[in-house]
Amino acid sequence: MEAAIVILGVLITVCACGVVFSRQSLHSALWLVAVLFLAGAYFAVLDAGFLAVVQVLIYAGAIVILMVFVIMLLGADAGAVKSVFRLPAYLGGALGGMLAGVLIVFALSGAKVELAPVKGSGLGGGTAEELGRELFGRYLFAFETIGVLLFAALLGAVILAAEQKRPLTPGRGLRAVQEVRKAEIKENVD
């Protein structure tokens, strides 16, 4: 287990660097897919099998596809960013230095880093059933809330992204939602 984790950890880090430092957005997207897959694997190793699946499904399957889709949509224009990095290196260095300084002073200040004590015997792992029980028991209200959230995001994304051709008429907004929902509903968690 340790070995797997170490390998996954190193790989994830490398891929994340790839996301951050790639010149092309498409390359970044591909590196992101790799990160997400590796993270899924990592979840699986950490006894969170259901999450691993969901991670791959949602992230790799939906989010990244969406991004790639947008990259394609924007096409050549997206490449016309004047330079890759927004900040001069020294600013990044200064920030890094500040962070390091803060961390060092923190370390010297005598504060401890301490995790909470372990409560009970480790759970067997996040199987779909266990997680489902939690979600529909204790976290039912949260689950409902996330539904509202997704609904709101959907509604918003549609009205923001839809091309505006016709003048505003009553009832037009929801129809657009319905159209888009048919196309995208499969990609969402239900």
């Binding site: 927004r86 500040m98 803060v102």
Partner: protein, 654 residues
């Protein structure tokens, strides 16, 4: 009703009578102003109302003189009325209360008597003016304030009259206010007087603080218990007031300018009455001044210097009113000399005689001025005796009296003062001058010189105006009847009042007078020193008259050359000893400069600007902060992260 009953009735009602003295001119002022709504012809009514009001006051004053026993031994009569408490705060009470004793009776008789005549005169003088209601209203108002000043029973109420006459003087000097110089002169008079008034106020405060009251009686009773220093200080401060009102050095500069007013104003206010208020005040407080020998010495010195200075300037003036004005200053100097010498009754004596003859002189001068179509320059007069012989007689009588020629009233009062000065005790300075001359001798010498100069300049003005040939344009004509009547009535007292050799009414002053001056007439005549001094003074006056007559008859050419040999520009006499300029450059300009500096530099630049600047700084720093909000997401992220880090650092440090 026989005389006795009348007397009794008057004594019973004397409080009302006293009030009537004041009320008549006040009512006169109101009513004469009301005539403004009448047509221009009927506005002459204002003058008659005013005359009647003045005459009522005079008549009542005369009744007081007749019906009260003023010569009773062991306590002269007096009369008083308490009206209402005026200002009462914290143990300080100023009451509206009047008091009539022999001193104030003398004064009110003079004021109302001369006042009535000059009112009458003014009817003629102002006949063609368009604002008669305003003039007579102010004139009567002046009378009211002057009487209030005289009758006040405490310093506070006296100050009301004191400032009130100043106000009327201001209004009347600037009566023809279309001409800016007139208005300016009025303002100058008021402001200079205010400087004196400031001293008056402080003196009052000192007395009130030390004595606890401003009643004359209370002050008098407390003198023995007062700190000598306090007495001297109070006398000094009050003296400042007197100096302002009575136009003495250093505050005499307003009086010559005050001649800008109509001539009746000059006659009444700036010769006969108001300017003597300072003298009256000091006489009123004579017990206090007696206790302050150092101040007395200062008064003596100031008076004599003023007399000399003013007389010297009068010598070269060509404006007939200016000559008389400087003469007034000079004569007031005499009165101050008398005050300084402790001869209060002589000061009052000269005050009264001066009121008569100076009033007469001004009236005559006014008649000349109207007769010559408002010409005032003596170089444009000449030979006026024939077209206006009535006026000539009046002027001649006045000149005779003021010059101190034998048997004229001026001679008596002036000689008495000179004698008092000569015999003044040296306690004041404690020293004789170089051990040769006593101070009294010195001031007597100055007084003598002034007597000589007085004769000179008065003769000069008489000669230039009435003798020789007429140098003006057009015809000179005699004035109206009312003016002549007024002058005619005043000639006898002006000429002969001096024969009384003092005023019998001043019994109330007796306790504070110098004992060596309390000689009867017969005793005086037997006093060798007095007679010697009298003769010297008469000689000096006569010499002055003769010299001037000679100079302007045979020595005319010599006089011209004398006049030409020193250019007017640098002639100290023509330039009035540069006193006005001195004040201008020493006080007015620096003060104006300071004011400008305060406004432009301190107020605008320093205070205002610094406030605006702090607002600017706030605004500018706001704009700087605006620069922080560049609108770029990257910068925002950086700022937020930096905030996070600095927060951590802050937490670690503190």
């Amino acid at each position: 009703m026989n005389y006795g009953e009348l007397n009794q009735w008057f004594l019973r009602e004397q409080q009302w009578a006293l009030l009537l003295i004041l009320a008549a001119p006040l009512a006169g002022a109101l009513f004469s102003y009301c005539t403004i709504s009448l047509g221009p012809r009927r506005q002459m009514l204002a003058g008659w109302i005013a005359v009647c009001a003045a005459f009522v006051s005079f008549a009542v004053s005369v009744c007081f003189w007749l019906f009260l026993d003023w010569s009773a031994e062991g306590g002269a009569a007096n009369s008083g009325v308490f009206l209402f408490p005026w200002i009462a705060a914290g143990g300080l009470h100023l009451d509206a209360a009047l008091k009539l004793d022999s001193l104030s009776l003398t004064m009110i008789l003079t004021v109302t008597g001369v006042g009535t005549l000059i009112h009458l005169y003014a009817i003629g003088y102002m006949a063609h003016d368009h604002s008669k209601p305003r003039f007579f209203s102010y004139f009567n108002l002046f009378l009211f304030f002057m009487l209030l000043l005289v009758l006040a029973d405490n310093l506070g109420l006296m100050f009301v009259g004191w400032e009130g006459v100043g106000l009327c003087s201001y209004l009347l000097i600037g009566f023809w206010h279309q001409q800016m110089p007139n208005a300016r002169a009025g303002q100058k008079a008021f402001v200079v007087n205010r400087i004196g008034d400031a001293g008056f106020l402080l003196g009052m405060f000192l007395l009130a603080a030390e004595v606890g009251s401003l009643d004359f009686d209370a002050v008098q009773d407390q003198i023995a218990y007062l700190n000598p220093w306090a007495i001297e200080a109070a006398c000094m401060l009050l003296l400042l007031g007197a100096v302002g009102k009575s136009a003495q050095i250093p505050l005499f500069v307003w009086l010559p300018d005050a001649m800008a007013g109509p001539t009746p104003v000059s006659a009444l206010i700036h010769a006969a009455t108001m300017v003597t208020a300072g003298v009256y005040m000091i006489v009123r407080l004579s017990p206090l001044y007696n206790a302050a020998p150092a101040v007395q010495f200062i008064i003596l010195a100031l008076g004599s210097l003023t007399a000399l200075l003013a007389a010297s300037i009068a010598l070269v003036q060509y404006d007939i009113k200016k000559v008389l004005a400087y003469s007034t200053v000079s004569q007031l100097g005499y009165m101050f000399m008398a005050l300084g010498a402790g001869a209060y009754s002589y000061a009052m004596f000269h005050l009264v005689t001066h009121a008569f003859f100076k009033g007469l002189l001004f009236m005559a001068a006014g008649a000349v001025i109207t007769g010559c179509r408002h010409e005032q320059d003596m170089r444009r007069f000449g030979g006026l005796w024939s077209p206006m012989w009535g006026t000539f007689i009046a002027y001649l009588a006045g000149t005779y009296a003021i010059a101190g020629l034998p048997l004229g009233s001026g001679a008596y009062s002036k000689e008495a003062i000179l004698w008092a000065v000569y015999t003044a005790p040296d306690t004041a300075a404690g020293l004789t001058l170089f051990n040769l001359v006593s101070w009294g001798g010195l001031f007597w010498g100055i007084g003598l010189a002034v007597a000589f100069l007085t004769a000179c300049y008065m003769t000069r003005s008489l000669v230039l105006t009435f003798f020789g040939s007429y140098r003006g344009e057009g015809e000179a004509s005699e004035s109206s009847a009312t003016m002549l009547v007024a002058m005619a009535v005043l000639i006898p007292p002006a000429m002969f009042f001096g024969h009384s050799r003092g005023i019998p009414l001043l019994e109330s002053l007796r306790p504070w007078a110098r004992q060596d001056l309390l000689l009867s007439q017969s005793e005086l005549m037997r006093d060798d020193l007095y007679r010697a001094l009298e003769h010297i003074a008469l000689f000096a006056a006569g010499a002055g008259v003769v010299l001037m007559l000679l100079a302007y008859s045979i020595g005319r050419g010599f006089m011209m050359r004398l006049g030409n040999c020193i250019p007017e520009r640098i002639n100290p006499l023509c330039c009035k000893w540069w006193v006005d300029e001195l004040y201008e450059y020493l006080i007015v300009r620096p003060l104006a400069f300071t004011a400008r500096v305060l406004f432009f530099a301190v107020d605008r630049k320093l205070i205002d600007r610094s406030i605006d600047l702090s607002a600017e700084i706030a605004g500018a720093s706001g704009q700087m902060l605006g620069l922080l909000h560049t609108g770029r997401i990257g910068h925002y992220l950086l700022i937020m992260l930096a905030g996070l880090f600095f927060g951590a650092a802050f937490w670690l440090v503190f």
